[in-house]
């Protein structure tokens, strides 16, 4: 995990800032159609760059790859340090992929202030990429916070619901509340490093760099404190039960594009696997932490699933189902074994295809009926068979049908959890059943049966742009479902290193210090 492979060409910086630069360029474009075409071009180039990185990525390696390292604020030990490893590189591809789809989706569904919308969307892509690629904790925090600005405007200006102002503010303030605690945790990590560095005459004497922080031991009591501080930041963003109350509002009131990002990119749980677990392995495996998080995770699974069962609005149902899925991710992470971690990581990626896909479906439904309430539907499958089939397929992936991507991830998580604790595994399995129940029940009422009163005969099936979105997602779902090996190989090295790190604990090891200097 500590080895670094620098790249000669700053490709990560390009990936990071291309959308932002693109957003500035968009500002100069006047014509609305040109704005759409330019935004799509930028998003596609970004996707191409990400795919290039994925292809050039050395699988089965724990090394930090494509690293770029420049001092930023030496007085505080902050550096501009980017890298991709098995944990983050897939998210880079996922972000680029989803952004392309969102641009395509927004082609005609966003009708006012198209330019600003595309600019906000691209700015959001930069900040998300920044969260995934930053190795320096302050840099990470910068992007983490910056995300709020485009999100705030996206929810507020292009949200469909009447309560969107409230939802936007709630989202910003909740996330901010969590992240200020996270900032304290980050600062504590820095100070712990500082103490150690002054004692051992190390240079630099302050650092926020993940790789340098990893080389320094942290006392257990300190680890637990820092763990909970970081936990608050990640839990609010994820959002983990009981910090989730902003999510249904934001997803329901915000535009579909924003919902896809919020529900598809699991930034909060990414934070756990990127920073909490490797930096604080002793705290992560301590009895109290594991128990509390497992219980919260299981509660989230059951609470989310039961709440989803009683929703009549499809987007609200999806919000609760994503809370339930996050419960799975979290219990997989804190099973702290190879299968659990790998399953969680894969599930985070999977949800980017399935949950995000269902939000697109919700968008398709919304643009037909101007609502995602159940009473607007009924027997839709007769009018829109293609839409209904994609709906069913992506939905089945989200509940983890064998052959789809959801199955692989969920299976690994359950395997890992059973290995860690029979009881937790047993409870988690019931969540799978609930998951199937809420989706299938909703599907049956909305798509099958007699045609609903609100469903008009003139209803059109998917048009070509929507077809592109739905089939792109389906291809990915099938690919991961049937042949997950390439994805698992990318993760393998980093996940293995993480497991080793957790088993070994945070004790200092001289050789790990030497390894850092290899770069």
């Amino acid at each position: 995990m500590l080895e670094e492979l620098a790249s000669t060409f700053p490709i990560l910086t390009c990936i990071l800032f291309l959308p932002l630069v693109g957003a500035v360029v968009l500002w100069l474009v006047e014509d609305e159609d040109m704005v759409r075409i330019s935004a799509l071009t930028i998003a596609l180039v970004e996707l191409a760059l990400s795919v290039f990185v994925l292809l050039r990525f050395l699988p089965d390696s724990a090394a930090m790859q494509f690293t770029e390292h420049v001092a930023w604020i030496p007085a505080l030990g902050v550096s501009y340090h980017l890298a991709a490893d098995g944990i983050s590189v897939l998210f880079v591809g996922l972000t680029a992929f989803l952004t392309v789809l969102i641009v395509i989706y927004s082609w005609d569904t966003v009708r006012h202030q198209v330019k600003l919308y595309m600019m906000a969307l691209l700015a959001l892509e930069t900040t998300t990429m920044g969260v995934f690629l930053s190795i320096d904790l302050i840099l990470f925090f910068v992007f983490w916070e910056l995300m709020l600005i485009p999100s705030y405007f996206l929810i507020k200006l292009w949200g469909g619901g009447a309560e969107r102002h409230y939802a936007a503010l709630k989202y910003v303030l909740y996330t901010l509340l969590g992240s200020v605690f996270m900032l304290v945790g980050i600062a504590l990590l820095d100070l712990n490093y500082h103490q150690w560095a002054t004692l051992h005459h190390m240079d630099p004497s302050y650092s926020f760099d993940l790789l340098e922080l990893l080389a320094v031991p942290i006392p257990l009591s300190q680890q637990i404190l820092i763990f909970w501080l970081l936990f608050l930041g990640f839990a609010f963003k994820a959002p983990l039960f009981p910090f989730h109350t902003w999510l249904p509002d934001a997803l329901l009131e915000g535009p579909i594009g924003m919902a896809v990002v919020l529900a598809g990119l699991k930034l909060g749980t990414f934070g756990f696997i990127r920073f909490s677990i490797p930096l604080l392995p002793d705290a992560s495996k301590s009895q109290t932490v594991v128990t509390v998080i497992m219980v919260l995770g299981l509660l989230a699974i059951l609470y989310g699933a039961i709440m989803a069962l009683i929703q009549s609005d499809f987007r609200r149902l999806l919000a609760f189902s994503s809370i339930s899925h996050l419960g799975f991710v979290v219990i997989g992470l804190f099973a702290l074994n190879y299968q659990g971690l790998q399953g969680s990581l894969l599930t985070m990626i999977n949800l980017g295809f399935s949950t995000a896909g269902l939000f697109f479906i919700a968008g398709f439904l919304y643009s037909r009926q101007q609502s995602t309430e159940l009473r607007a539907f009924g027997g839709m499958a007769k009018q829109t068979p293609v839409l209904a089939s994609f709906f069913l397929f992506i939905g089945l992936a989200s509940i983890g049908l064998p052959g789809t991507n959801g199955f692989v991830g969920e299976f690994l998580i359950l395997l890992g959890t059973f290995k860690a604790n029979w009881l937790y595994g047993g409870i988690a399995v019931t969540g799978v059943i609930f998951g199937a129940a809420y989706f299938l029940w909703y599907y049956e009422r909305a798509m099958l049966g007699p045609v609903g009163k609100a469903v008009k005969d003139s209803l059109k099936d998917l048009h070509p742009r929507e077809m592109i979105i739905a089939s792109a997602l389906s291809v990915m779902i099938l690919w991961i479902g049937l042949y997950p090996a390439p994805f698992l190989r990318i993760m393998n090295g980093s996940v293995q290193a993480l497991v080793d790190r957790v088993d070994r604990g945070a004790m200092p090891s001289l050789e790990s210090k030497l390894q850092i200097r290899v770069d």
């Binding site: 930023w72 030496p74 007085a75 992007f143 507020k156 200006l157 303030l173 509340l177 900032l183 600062a187």
Partner: protein
């Protein structure tokens, strides 16, 4: 106490910036009287030229490392004094630039307006160098004197008159506190110069004396519980004066606070830390909570300013060299964001004649540039990365955490969330609400210049802070030998999480 009045030319050199500015003050008056028909822009640019020369001289001193002390250590010119002098002169230049459009509202004495502003700046430059209790008193009163007039400059306006009276009465009261405190401290120690006070134990007289001095300085910086003049005075004053009042005197007062706490009182750190923690918590919480209810932009910034000062006090409570670096850095970020925000208030009130937050509705459509600048400044004040304010807050928090002030940090961080709420209310008005009047707002050249400078400052310090951190680190070199007194005297509730 002996004063040697023989001064060599090299001694005079140390006073060169002040001498230039004094000469220029006379020049401004002479020009104003001799050419009554001179358009007032000319006088403004004349003042800026003089301040520019002063700033140039200060920069030269800073690069050349010119330092020293005069008049038996009453006046010191060290790198910290240079930092604050540049801070003061820089803010004065920008304030004068921002005043050019505003001055036509004054029916009389337009020339004297510039004179008074530059005179206050001169007083504050002396404050930055004040190293003994007498010069603290004299320079503080000297600088406040100009403000007493400036605050009430809109003679026809009741609010301005009210502001003037309030500021004057409370200011005089603070001066009384200061004088009384000084007399007590002098009575106890027999010394006036900070560095000569070899304090070994706290006597009641000394404690009360320093508390009174802290009260007077707290009045200057507007920390709770000495803040009561701020909202009305900020609201009533001519807006450029408010901008000036919200920045320059705070910098100057912090120069004195730093000298007082770290030179005279360094050995009593465990005691005064408590005082600062209390003042900081109160200022942040009070400022932010009351700011939420504000309907007027100037009052909003007044309360947010009180909260910002609470943040700066966190750095002071840390009581270390790093804390002092952070204070200087934070003030720098506050300088650009706050001045920029006030410049926008001036521009908007020129166009629509209102300073109510409600009238900022639709500013994003009426003037994208103004709205965008305001967004940047407010986000910087709130501490959103990667703007200057974020780095400033980070610096201060890390310095305080190193000293284990977790309770203070927690309060500070919760306050960030609260402050985000009311800054976002303004953002919402600007970008989401429908404008009452869709006509476009034109921004004049001088205001644009101020905004460009402030935007550049806010963005550059945020994205590439290294030169600025280097600068503040070298500016507080005098504190590098700070005695680290363990915080044993502090009750565990404060230092333990």
């Amino acid at each position: 106490m002996n004063f040697s009045l023989t001064m060599s030319p090299s001694d005079l050199l140390l006073l060169l910036p002040e001498i230039i500015l004094t000469a220029w003050l006379c020049l401004i008056l002479i020009v104003d009287f001799s050419f009554p028909r001179l358009p007032n822009e000319q006088l403004a640019y004349l003042s800026i030229a003089g301040l520019g020369a002063t700033l140039g001289c200060l920069v030269w001193f800073n690069i050349g490392g010119v330092t020293g002390a005069l008049f038996a250590n009453m006046f010191v010119l060290d790198r910290m004094a240079l930092f604050f002098k540049m801070f003061i002169v820089g803010s004065t230049m920008l304030v004068i630039l921002a005043s050019i459009d505003y001055v036509h509202r004054f029916k009389f004495f337009r020339g004297e307006y510039y004179f008074l502003i530059v005179m206050s700046a001169l007083g504050m430059m002396f404050m930055a160098s004040a190293n003994d209790l007498l010069s603290v008193f004299v320079t503080l009163e000297f600088s406040t004197f100009g403000f007493y007039v400036l605050v009430a400059y809109l003679r026809e306006d009741m609010a301005s008159n009210e502001a003037g009276i309030k500021f004057f009465i409370l200011g005089v009261f603070a001066a009384g506190l200061l004088a009384y405190g000084i007399s007590l401290v002098y009575g106890e120690t027999g010394q006036l110069v900070f560095s000569d006070m070899k304090l070994t134990e706290v006597t009641p007289g000394l404690a009360i004396g320093f508390l009174l001095i802290f009260g007077a300085l707290g009045f200057k910086i507007g920390a709770v519980p000495f803040h009561s003049w701020i909202p009305d005075t900020y609201h009533g004053s001519p807006t450029p004066v408010t901008a000036f009042l919200s920045i320059a005197p705070k910098g100057a007062a912090f120069a004195i606070l730093l000298r007082m706490f770290f030179v005279a009182l360094a050995t009593f750190k465990p005691i005064w830390v408590l005082l600062l923690v209390a003042a900081s918590v109160l200022s942040m919480t009070y400022g932010n909570i009351v700011a939420i209810a504000q309907k007027n932009m100037k009052r909003l910034l007044a309360y947010s300013g009180i909260a910002q000062i609470g943040n700066v006090l966190i750095g002071l409570a840390a009581g270390t060299k790093m804390g002092n670096d952070a204070i200087l850095f934070y003030l720098l970020t506050y300088f650009f964001a706050n001045l920029g925000a006030f410049a926008i208030i001036i521009a908007v009130s020129e166009a629509i004649g209102s300073e109510e937050i409600d009238d900022y509705s639709g500013l994003g459509r009426r003037s994208p540039f103004l709205a965008f600048s305001m967004l940047i400044f407010l986000l910087s004040l709130a501490g959103v990365p990667p703007l200057a304010g974020f780095i400033g807050k980070l610096y201060i928090f890390i310095a305080a955490m190193k000293e284990g002030l977790y309770v203070l940090i927690t309060v500070g961080l919760i306050n960030i969330v609260i402050s985000m709420y009311y800054y976002l209310i303004v953002v919402k008005k600007m970008y989401i609400s429908e404008p009452h009047d869709p006509s476009r707002i034109r921004v004049s050249g001088p205001i644009k210049a101020v905004l460009y400078v402030c935007l550049a400052g806010t963005l550059i310090i945020g994205i590439y802070p290294q030169p600025f951190t280097d600068w503040v680190v070298s500016a507080t070199m005098m504190f590098s030998g700070l005695v680290d007194v363990p915080l044993t005297a502090i009750p565990p509730a404060v230092i333990n999480p």
